[in-house]
Amino acid sequence: MIHDFHYLRPDSLQEAMTMLSEYGDRSKILCGGQSLLIVMRQGMVAPEYVIDIKHLNELNYIRFDEKKGLAIGATTTHRAIEKSDVIKRRYPVIADMENRLASIQTRNWGTIGGNLAHADPAGDPAPVLIVLGAEITLASLKGERTMLLEEFFVDYFTTQLNEDEIIKEINVPVLPPRSGCAYQKFNLLRNDMGIVGVAVKVTLNEAGVCTDAKICLGNAGRVPIRARKAEGAVIGQKYDEKLFAEAGKIASEECEPVSDIHASEEFRRHLVSVLTRRMLVAAWKAI
């Protein structure tokens, strides 16, 4: 049962930030509510004030610039991202990830800002955006600050957001030439949350040698985790499936998955190992 709350409907980002500065941690921003309403119904979150920003069109946009890259406003729905022509063309890994995120109904109403603010370690967008080098911009009456998305997550369902801050935008840089990305989650139903998910980005030089690799593990710890040792094993090397299997093993040792009803810790580590190997192959082949 959802606890009673005061419903606030700001007409602008400015007004939303003013409300946040007044009510602080007694309030909660609601956008699509596809995650928040569930935890409110379970009684885990019971804000006194709900600040509804779903209708704020000033944060509903997808823009692409050849220099600055991709900018996605916080209230943009998953479905809009999935269907965006420029994202399909320039960042197909994002469109594919969105296509497998929950159901069409959820994607139609749920938003990218809400998903990231919820900070469920099993969320799909974070690992993919992190390997792409995405940044997130937070805004409050005091001003804006931008950080790497991988620094945004602090703990289970906990982020760097201060109580007066709101997510404004997500930025994804233009990929260097000869870069490839891949993401896969392991689950029982196609669009379930991942029991484990792995995102990989690799960049090669003209000789086919890997100059940059980013590997991010979803639902293998409290927050999306960069597998830095596994990345190090791949950088400076050429396509080598034996090496990728080794990198998978390394990744499985540098994460901290839990055991729960869906999978044991041991099985999750196994999945990280297999998916890392497969995604390295897939990212290489995507170039």
Binding site: L30, L37, A102, Q105, N108, W109, R190
Partner: protein, 161 residues
């Protein structure tokens, strides 16, 4: 709790109601207005029985705060028929026996309608249809009859009106 005014259109009719702002869309539709075609299943966004269309988009009405459809058009299964005639997808569901217990049917019809609207004039593949109803769970049919019904409408075997 202070009640809030919500104005929206349901199946073409305008409604103005005062509600506790925590009320979910499914409860406004079923309990405040009285259209009980829309079903409550899991109440956690998993089963799709409560699917309605908001501005022709399928959404799960158990996971949408009613206040968020202010000024919008909402369609439920009751809004599919026109002038007393069932819509093409409803006719097709009957012909293909696309249900048994019927509990998922209103939500399934709304997802199918949204899918067909989005792809008007296009013949959908089986995979596209399966993807279109990915958010709706049916315990009875094994989905095949539902997919055949949607396929038939997509191929133009049923005409509006």
């Amino acid at each position: 709790m202070e009640k809030k005014l919500l104005r929206f259109k349901l199946n073409g009719l305008e409604y103005e109601i005062f509600i506790n702002p925590k009320t979910l869309l499914v409860d406004v539709i079923r309990d405040h207005i009285g259209f009980t075609g829309t079903k409550k299943g899991c109440e956690s966004g998993s089963c799709g029985a409560c699917t309605v269309m908001v501005e022709d988009m399928a959404v799960k009405s158990c996971s949408v705060l009613a206040m968020q459809v202010e000024g919008m058009n909402v369609t439920t299964v009751e809004g599919l028929e026109k002038n007393g005639k069932l819509s093409p997808i409803q006719e097709a569901f009957l012909d293909y026996g696309a249900f048994q217990c019927g509990f998922c049917t209103p939500g399934m019809l709304m997802s199918a309608t949204a899918l067909l609207k989005e792809n008007e004039g296009k013949v959908l593949t089986e995979e596209e249809i399966r993807e279109g109803i990915e958010g709706n769970i049916c315990r009875c049919t094994g989905y095949n009859s539902i997919i055949r019904a949607i396929e038939a409408v997509s191929k133009g075997e049923y005409k509006e009106g």
